[in-house]
Symmetry: C2
Subunit: 301 residues, 2 copies
């Protein structure tokens, strides 16, 4: 994916050695810096109408998503979110009620996790666009690079629901007919789970693009291999809608579910695999065949 | 200006009482929060190709501007900048060299002020767009609301240069023919000045939209009046290009110069007026007439 190539360029050009920068640009979901005696975790993420908002989305859900995508990054590091700032570009025909709806969605999610929205910049352009910037704190934070051989690989929930719903929408279903509207329009960032997991996990990240991409990042950065066992994967939530191989593809290569994947000696959630010696990410089929899980995902965001 | 109306809506909807939020949304150039034992100052600002980048701008200058506009906000609070994150939307035809140029401009400015660029999100859309988030620290920070009757009103430099240059560009001049290309394409945020001024000023803000808007914000929020003396205003830098009344208009109502305006018992820079009892912002003409300085500016950003 071209985005990852550009991240590599940015990482090379902008990386600095600084005593107060613990995790710098391009290294992980979030940056981690020291301010006073605190680990402060920061992330920036942006969403666009055409590429990131499914058709039929309500203003409240746009505001929710803009905050949720950033909180999910913080959750992936095990941080407790504290503050949020946004910049929003409205199209010139946006009415006040839509703007209020977006802010309402943002506020409702912020309130639930005790996040203070402390700043915003509003202007006008050709496409609705929201950039968010979230700041949190973490006593112990977890990156993608600490996975250890022997760790279990675990996910906080079932995967593929958002992409399945999106594809149903593309194929002509209305938003009240699709399988998992909440997963698509109002996904819940796994804040509390992230904070709990950070107490014991060796590596963690949120699944924003796909499980495959998240696992490949963990494997590469931790210099380990990862095996996922087909036997351990639950696909029942998808099988009522698509066939088995499509369901498996959604599970591995779909994004948008805002779940977390982590490696740890203890699994509090769904155990799907193990960290092994070597490199690469592998699907161990029920019949024992090893298939490479590639670095790819549906890029609907 | 419609933007200010929307800021008021956001302020009403999103404002929260929180022990660790000292300056919240919509109150000032920046938010100020407590993290550990530090005053942490944060701001978010975004720029668009069509509305914010003058024609003929180089990629390096785009990167410079995206960071500079945020550093200028921090300077307006007297904060020392520490960290920066960005989100950038590239058009699909952007080549790698342009992307590198933008990052180079950002990096060069960041390096000069010891700012670590710690995060970025890159995606694609219809218009080049950069949102920036800057984080700084301030032992003593200065807001727009502390002006005291008897304070001098001071500006860090000559105003109107960026808008004059922009209008020359609009009228068909090339970028090497305009009066102040540096002011337009590569303005310098007044970081060092802001930190110095914060040691004694009662109110301060950067002049992003216009002197008129900055002064009106200070007067309103501080519950004071402000008098600007025509006698004290220097227009020589504009008079070679436009007539006197146009020069005065540029000085009062033009933006983009990235200078700071502050009120203090001591003036380290150009003294242009005084804080008085009452309300509103007034131009005291050479002949003694009082003219209201309205809340308006050229909105080229």
């Amino acid at each position: 994916m071209r985005e990852f190539y550009l991240i590599e360029i940015a990482k090379k050009m902008l990386k600095v050695e600084r005593e107060n920068v613990i995790v710098g640009i391009g290294e992980d979901d979030c940056a981690v810096v020291r301010i006073g005696n605190k680990n402060v975790v920061m992330t920036a993420d942006c969403l666009h109408e055409k590429t990131d908002f499914p058709s039929g989305i309500k203003p409240e859900e746009i505001g929710h998503l803009a905050l949720a995508v950033n909180l999910s990054d913080l959750a992936g590091c095990g941080a407790k979110p504290s503050f949020f700032l946004y910049t929003i570009t409205l199209t010139r025909d946006t009415d006040e009620e839509k703007f209020r709806g977006i802010l309402r969605g943002m506020r409702d999610l912020a309130d639930r996790y005790d996040v203070a929205v402390i700043g915003g910049d509003t202007d006008f352009g050709d496409e609705l666009h929201i950039s968010g910037f979230a700041i949190g704190e973490a006593e112990r934070f977890v990156t993608q690079s600490g996975a250890k051989v022997g760790d279990y690989v675990c996910v906080t929930g079932l995967l593929g629901k958002a992409q399945l719903s999106l594809e149903q929408l593309f194929s002509g279903y209305d938003r009240d007919e699709i399988a998992y509207p909440e997963s698509l329009f109002k996904p819940e960032p796994r804040i509390k789970e992230g904070i709990e997991i950070a107490k014991h996990a060796n590596a963690m990240t949120d699944i924003s693009d796909s499980l495959a991409i998240s696992l490949n990042l963990i494997a590469e950065k931790s210099n380990v291999g990862i095996e996922i066992y087909e036997n351990s994967i639950t696909l029942d939530h998808l099988l009522g809608y698509v066939d088995y191989e499509k369901a498996l593809e959604l599970f591995l290569y779909a994004g948008g579910d805002y779940e977390l994947v982590y490696t740890s000696k203890q699994c509090q959630h769904v155990k799907i695999g193990k960290v092994v010696e070597g490199s690469g990410v592998w699907l161990i089929r029920k019949d024992g065949r090893r298939e490479k899980i590639e670095f790819k995902g549906f890029s609907h965001r």
